[in-house]
Assembly symmetry: C2
Amino acid sequence: MGLDRVGIIGLGLIGGSIGLDLQAKGFEVCGLVNREKTATRAKERGLAQLVSTDPTIISDCSIVILALPLKQLIEPTEQLINALPLKAVITDVGSVKKPVLNKWRGLHPKFVASHPMSGTIKTGVEAGQRGLFKNKPWVATPDPTTDQEALNVIKNLAISLGSNWITTDADTHDQSVALISHLPVFISASLLKTVNKEKNNEVSVLAKTIASSGFEDTTRVGGGNPSLGVAMAMYNSSSILETLTSYRSSIDKFEQMIRNKQWKQLQKELEKTQQDRPDYL
Amino acid sequence: MGLDRVGIIGLGLIGGSIGLDLQAKGFEVCGLVNREKTATRAKERGLAQLVSTDPTIISDCSIVILALPLKQLIEPTEQLINALPLKAVITDVGSVKKPVLNKWRGLHPKFVASHPMSGTIKTGVEAGQRGLFKNKPWVATPDPTTDQEALNVIKNLAISLGSNWITTDADTHDQSVALISHLPVFISASLLKTVNKEKNNEVSVLAKTIASSGFEDTTRVGGGNPSLGVAMAMYNSSSILETLTSYRSSIDKFEQMIRNKQWKQLQKELEKTQQDRPDYL
């Protein structure tokens, strides 16, 4: 078993992109997918040297990356668990870490919970691309039971893909992504819902005609993958609900300023948001 | 007085961009600005053939474009009003039309209320650029008192800049821009405010580190020009307040679905927003 044979389960945007970059770095990559059709296309695209629907394809790998949707990570099948080599280091790429860690902590001795913060609107076997992780955060959320050597293996893997390695605890991670990634989905979807329910037909038609880049930007994440939005909501409910409560009080404050014609205060607030935004870019 | 001499009052993003494109189309452009320093820079940048702080610069123009901030359009100075040639066709570029039209209807017989739907984050004399209006809507909001010939002059001007000409009434315009342009500013600023008021320091620091393109997109318009946000709120208050009420009920519905674990309904709602978004692009 060489250190440089990496298994990737799932060759969608994240799995496929990891496969492309790792091969360019000299790793041997074995891809495990669900369907023959996906396997064929993944081979054509060169997402891995070997691609199969047969779980034994990953049995010689020293690292296995579970590049699967959240639901499959949190409710893994027996078949998936049994396919993982006991001596391999395992990591996932799920965008919520506490329920993943809670599930996998007892399932595999070398499991490391992690989350590369890269994404595009694309999904599926066509989505994988080179350089997706370059200069992007890759967050790991070890707990006291996490194997330190395994953690180091994933750290080196992430760094070899050009990511910025960050470790934190799963709670802090899940609250942070609720704020900067999950809350924006529901804010943005609510804007689309609001515009769509406009009852004045002339207003509605004109809105569709004149909407420009500002509307496009603000609605991008709300018009994204519905299943991903549902998975965030299912597995990070309490943090998202907290941020929604806080968000509503922010909206209320802006509304009050407008209703009460507090223009100086509104100017100050908007100056503050303008000043603060670059901290997040 | 030739038909091809155009005066532009204000040479910021919109005025400067109009100046650059009109000159390329063979028009003679005269720019009127407030400060000597701006005049010097506008000349250096070639935003108009003639630039001055002296209002008589526009006295021979057959078209005058008021490329000024909303406040100056809605509360115009005597000096501005007196500078406008009586025989010229006048238009503005304000993003709220009802108060502009209400003010100017009685001030000049050939006033046409209009609004080119183009913008970038840039402002000031450095902002003007070629091709800003190409394939973008240019909305006019005539009322029964609007001079039809004057309306045609502005229509031809907008079309010569590559814009898509649209006419509607001022109320419909103001309600539509409230939905697709003004509401997004306050939604987006509220997200920044929510993230900024996070009290858990570890969560706050991690959020700043891992925020990525989704957060960048969703906060873009909320981190824009504060004075423009205040002007929207001041002059389009009632439409914005209506959209905020409707928006809050959308947010409430998403919150209820998450709180009540209505995942199938949430999936349907997010499928709908995903399907509907392309109508606005």
